[in-house]
Every structure is written in structure tokens, then in C-alpha cells.
């Protein structure tokens, strides 16, 4: 008969209507600012800069190689390279960004900057409460607002961060071993030199930056 489908549909909505009053688990609504869903590990919103240690200015992993700036499809990254160099985690002197801006009103969350970064310095954040009443200043994130600690990274993406840390630690250990080997070689040479000349051992240059993990 014409119209029985309509009646069936009406019965279905009526069931939902009354059911939502009877059984609580029908309602999937979450009272957002007060309640939140647990974060999904794979979630990502916008990039941030990882720093090691306590001081964000000292510990930034970024060496301002500007690869991300070049690769960014919507061109939302702006980097200004430093004039001087600063030793990095393994003590190698590197450039650092004097300015690192990401315009997240332009960013499309493609994660290409993360893919291309050779230093694991830029990662995706999960923060989504980004609304602001200042359209230009509030959405143009500078170095300071982008810098987040490695602990934060470990918290939001534990598995990924662990892998990154392991790789970094391995690299640093290698670098340290190489440095130590070099140092010991230098020391040996020095002792030999000392043996040959005056007796005052010169200390091998130690990495200046604080090592975490």
C-alpha cells in the first residue's frame, strides 16, 4: 500500500525519540569543553617544533635547513636562518632558526614537513582548541608557541616518539662513540705528545648541549 513505508519510518523515529529518554547509552553526545573523548594516538592537527631538555631555545632540534619550508604545499612555513652557529645535541655546531612561523590558517595538515624533516625536529600536534578572536596574530604561530618538549611528544604519540627517540639515541650514541674514539685518539696523541713534550693533558672537548635520554 502507498504510504506504509512512511508509517514504518515514523515508527522508527518515534522509537528513537522515546528510546533516547529511556536508555542513556543511546545518547552519544559528549559535553565537549567539560568532557572529552580520549585522544586517539594517530590524531594530528598542526605541526609543532620538538625541543630536548628544559630550555626550548637551547634544545630546539631544528637546524633551519629549510626543507620543510620548500616542501610545504600551501607555503605556510616561514624560516629565518641564524647567522651564527650553535652546538646541537651531539655537539656539532649548527644553524638554528631565528624565526620559525607557521600560519595555521593556511596549513592544511598534510604532514609533509614531518615526512621530509631529517632531524625529527617537526612533528604533528593533536591540539584542536585553536579558535581565537585574533584572526592574524592568533593563528600565526611563532617559534615560542610552536616549541614543545619531547615529553609532550612522547605523551601524545607514545609509539612514534619511542621509535624516534630510539633512533635518535642510537645516532647520538654513535656520535658520542665516534667523539669518544676521537677524543681518546686525541688524548692518546696528546699523551704521546705529552710523553714527548711537557706533561699537561688537555681535556677533550665535551658536548656543550645537555643530553636528554
Amino acid at each position: 500500500m502507498l504510504g506504509d513505508g512512511i508509517l514504518k519510518g515514523l515508527a522508527e523515529t518515534a522509537r528513537n525519540f522515546f528510546g533516547s529518554y529511556v536508555s542513556r547509552d543511546r545518547l552519544t553526545t559528549i559535553q565537549y569543553p567539560e568532557q572529552r573523548d580520549p585522544q586517539i594516538e594517530a590524531a594530528r592537527s598542526f605541526p609543532f617544533l620538538v625541543f630536548d631538555g628544559a630550555d626550548w631555545q637551547q634544545g630546539l632540534r631544528c637546524v633551519s635547513c629549510q626543507i620543510c619550508e620548500k616542501e610545504c604545499p600551501p607555503k605556510c612555513i616561514f624560516i629565518e636562518k641564524s647567522k651564527d652557529k650553535k652546538p646541537d645535541a651531539v655537539g656539532k655546531p649548527q644553524f638554528y632558526p631565528v624565526r620559525f612561523d607557521i600560519d595555521i590558517s593556511v596549513c592544511m595538515s598534510c604532514q609533509i614537513c614531518v615526512e621530509v624533516c631529517p632531524f625529527d625536529a617537526i612533528k604533528m600536534d593533536v591540539d584542536y582548541d585553536l579558535s581565537t578572536d585574533d584572526r592574524f596574530g592568533g593563528l600565526l604561530l611563532d617559534r615560542q608557541r610552536l616549541a614543545k618538549s619531547n615529553e609532550h611528544y612522547n605523551k601524545i604519540h607514545p609509539t612514534e616518539a619511542a621509535a624516534v627517540d630510539a633512533a635518535l639515541a642510537e645516532e647520538r650514541a654513535k656520535a658520542k662513540a665516534a667523539a669518544e674514539a676521537k677524543a681518546s685518539a686525541a688524548a692518546k696523541a696528546a699523551t704521546e705528545a705529552k710523553a714527548a713534550a711537557v706533561a699537561n693533558p688537555a681535556p677533550a672537548p665535551q658536548p656543550a648541549a645537555g643530553e636528554s635520554q
Binding site: L2, G9, L10, T13, F17, G19, L27, T28, T29
Partner: protein, 391 residues
């Protein structure tokens, strides 16, 4: 006591008018009634927006608005403040005068219909001799307002929406009027007051509402379907189909003018619902003779709220129709059914009063309905669509 309670607003008006000089009394009486009607139905509009959002939310297992005030009851107020303070943007290419007049005309036209709707016993603005005709005449003004809005915006979407809306309103006006004609045929009057008076009598405890007759029931259903289409409600909301033409004819409106469109649409919906109540559901009459002590206006608003709830229920249930389905429904189903219903009402009129006319009239309506339903279902076969104009 019940008499006083029933007539309390009428008495209050007379009491108030007693303080005024006799010369301006008729004018002030009309003004008072108009202001009261506007206030009451604007409030009802606010309540309905809340009711609709809550009801739709529950049907979709959501909560609906719950932030502003207890249970979100102050949400309409917040919406009103928001729309009042929003920037009013007029497209640069728009026809400014027409663009401005369209929402005003729409709201004015939608309020005009209330002049003949009896809200309670002795509570009608004017008892026009041709009341029902007046109602449909001012209803047709809304089409003009819709066209003005769509055309003056100079936007493809709004023009498309307006064309759809007008085509739909004109098509469904025919079944709407034809469905209500059965009542006029039976009462022999176009006056809404006379129509309600005919229904406000009882046999035993049962009222003489027209919906309790075969032709009345069919007429009521057909009237409600046509009224849904006439007020652009889901599932006939093609003119504002969000998914294809965004908001239809009022896409270029913002701020308070947009709110006016919203208001006009709801007020129009209330008016057609109230007309359905007047024609088929006995107006302000109580459903049982032993309930006549309840004031008549309460019955009217109870029925109105029931019909509004039905509208919301239908909106939460049915998906939107396609344009050709819409037109087919109007011309292939609604129009023949209203004509057959007219025949049934005529037969009812001429058959002697008794039990015999019940099955006869019911058969006159039901048999063609079943045949038509079968025919329409069988005809529906799927094929490659051919376009006449786009190739």
C-alpha cells in the same frame, strides 16, 4: 465560572476599551487584537524553534540545545540576539529596494492569514463572509515575496531556489484548496466561524469534527500533505535544499532579514496548521462533550502544538524528495485524490443520513486510493534518465 474563564480575553478587551472614547474604540479594538495575535504567535515561533531542535535531536539520539538556560529554553532568545546583532549584508549587485521588501512582505503576508482564524469562542479578528477564500488569497502573496527574494539577490542559487519554491507552491495550492473545498461543500459557508460552529456540536460525547467522516479524514490527510509542501517543510523542502542550492531563495540574506524569513516561514506553517484545525479538527471545540469546561483557546493551542509536533516528527523521518517526484506527487496523486474526495463529499451530502453512507463514501475514497497506489507503484521502473534541456 467556566464561561468567564472561556471568555476572559474577550472580557478583558472590552474592559480595557471601556476606558477609551467611543470614537476610537473600533480602531483600538482591532489594534489590540492584532498586537495580541502577533505577540502570541511570535512567542509560539520561539517555542517551536526550541521544540523542533530538541525533538529532532532526540530522534537522532542527540540532546539538542542544552546550554542556554534550563534545558536550553533560552536558546531562541540567544538566537534572536545573535541574528539582531549580525551584520546585514546586501549583495552589491542586488536590487536593493526589492531585496529589502521581500522579507517584510513575507512576514506581513504570513500574518495576514490570522485575521480569519478563530482562536477561541468569539475570538476571531474578523468574521469574513469569504474567510477561507481570503486565507488562500493572502497565502498566495507569499509566493510573490519568495520570488522577490530570489530574484533581487542576483544569485543563481537564490533564483533557482525561488523558481523551485514558486513551482512547488503553485502546484500544491491546487490540492490544498481542493482538499478544503469538501468542508465548504458540507457547511455551505466560506466563513471560518460558521465552519467551526458546525463542528462544535456533540452526539453523545462524540464531537462532529469533519475529520471523523471518510471524506474529512481523506481531506485532512491530503490537506496536511499539501500544507507541508506549501510551507516548504521537509520532506518537501527542495526550495531550500541545503545540499544542492544551499539555502534557496534566502541564501543572500543575513542577520535580521534572515531571521524574518525564518519567522515568516514558521508563521505561515502555523497559519496553515491552524486552518487545518479550523477546517477538519473542530477549531477550538473540545474533543469530548464532557471536556467543554476547558477554555476553548486552550484546545486550539493544544491542537496546534499537536500538529506542529507532527510536522517535526515528519521532518525527522523522511528524506527530501526529488523535483520530479514532487511534481508527480502533486499532479498524479494529490490532484486525482482530492477530486475523488470531492465526489465522496458530494455523495455524502446527497445520501440520506444513516449508517449506509459511511461505507459508500469510505469505498469511494479508499478504492481509488488503492488502485492509484498500485498503479503508481507499478509504473515506477528504473531507466536511464534523459534530459530535455541540458543536452
Amino acid at each position: 465560572m467556566t464561561q468567564t474563564l472561556d471568555q476572559i480575553f474577550v472580557l478583558a478587551k472590552h474592559w480595557l476599551l471601556g476606558f477609551l472614547p467611543a470614537a476610537i474604540q473600533p480602531f483600538c479594538s482591532a489594534l489590540l487584537s492584532v498586537v495580541a495575535i502577533i505577540l502570541v504567535f511570535a512567542t509560539l515561533f520561539a517555542i517551536t524553534t526550541w521544540l523542533e531542535r530538541k525533538g529532532l535531536g532526540r530522534m537522532q539520539n542527540r540532546l539538542g540545545p542544552n546550554r542556554v538556560g534550563p534545558c536550553g529554553l533560552l536558546q531562541p532568545l540567544a538566537d534572536g540576539i545573535k541574528s539582531l546583532t549580525k551584520e546585514d549584508i546586501v549583495p552589491a549587485a542586488a536590487d536593493h529596494a526589492v531585496h529589502f521588501m521581500a522579507p517584510v512582505l513575507l512576514v506581513a503576508a504570513s500574518f495576514l492569514g490570522y485575521a480569519v482564524l478563530p482562536i477561541g469562542r468569539n475570538m476571531v479578528l474578523t468574521n469574513l463572509n469569504a474567510g477561507v477564500l481570503y486565507f488562500f488569497a493572502v497565502g498566495s502573496l507569499m509566493e510573490l515575496a519568495v520570488f522577490m527574494a530570489g530574484w533581487s539577490s542576483r544569485s543563481k542559487y537564490s533564483l533557482l531556489g525561488a523558481m523551485r519554491a514558486i513551482a512547488q507552491m503553485i502546484s500544491y495550492e491546487v490540492p490544498l484548496v481542493l482538499a478544503s473545498i469538501v468542508v465548504i461543500l458540507h457547511t455551505g459557508s466560506l466563513s471560518t466561524v460558521a465552519i467551526v460552529d458546525r463542528q462544535a456540536v456533540y452526539t453523545g460525547i462524540w464531537p462532529h469534527w469533519f475529520v471523523f467522516t471518510p471524506w474529512g479524514l481523506a481531506g485532512f490527510v491530503l490537506f496536511m500533505v499539501a500544507a507541508t509542501a506549501e510551507s516548504n517543510r521537509s520532506p518537501f523542502d527542495l526550495p531550500e535544499g541545503e545540499s544542492e542550492i544551499i539555502a534557496g531563495y534566502y541564501i543572500e540574506y543575513s542577520g535580521f532579514k534572515f531571521a524574518l524569513f525564518f519567522l515568516g516561514e514558521y508563521i505561515g506553517m502555523f497559519a496553515t496548521s491552524a486552518m487545518a484545525i479550523t477546517l477538519f479538527l473542530g477549531g477550538w471545540a473540545a474533543p469530548f462533550s464532557f471536556l467543554t469546561w476547558v477554555p476553548s483557546y486552550l484546545w486550539f493551542f493544544a491542537k496546534l502544538l499537536a500538529i506542529i509536533s507532527a510536522f517535526i516528527w515528519v521532518r525527522g523521518t523522511l528524506p527530501r524528495l526529488r523535483m520530479d517526484q514532487l511534481m508527480n506527487l502533486a499532479w498524479q496523486f494529490m490532484l486525482p485524490m482530492t477530486l475523488i474526495n470531492l465526489l465522496a463529499a458530494g455523495v455524502w451530502q446527497f445520501m440520506p443520513a444513516g449508517v449506509a453512507r459511511w461505507p459508500v463514501c469510505a469505498a469511494i475514497v479508499a478504492v481509488p486510493f488503492l488502485l492509484l497506489a498500485r498503479g503508481l507503484k507499478q509504473k515506477r521502473k528504473f531507466q536511464l534518465r534523459t534530459y530535455r534541456f541540458s543536452q
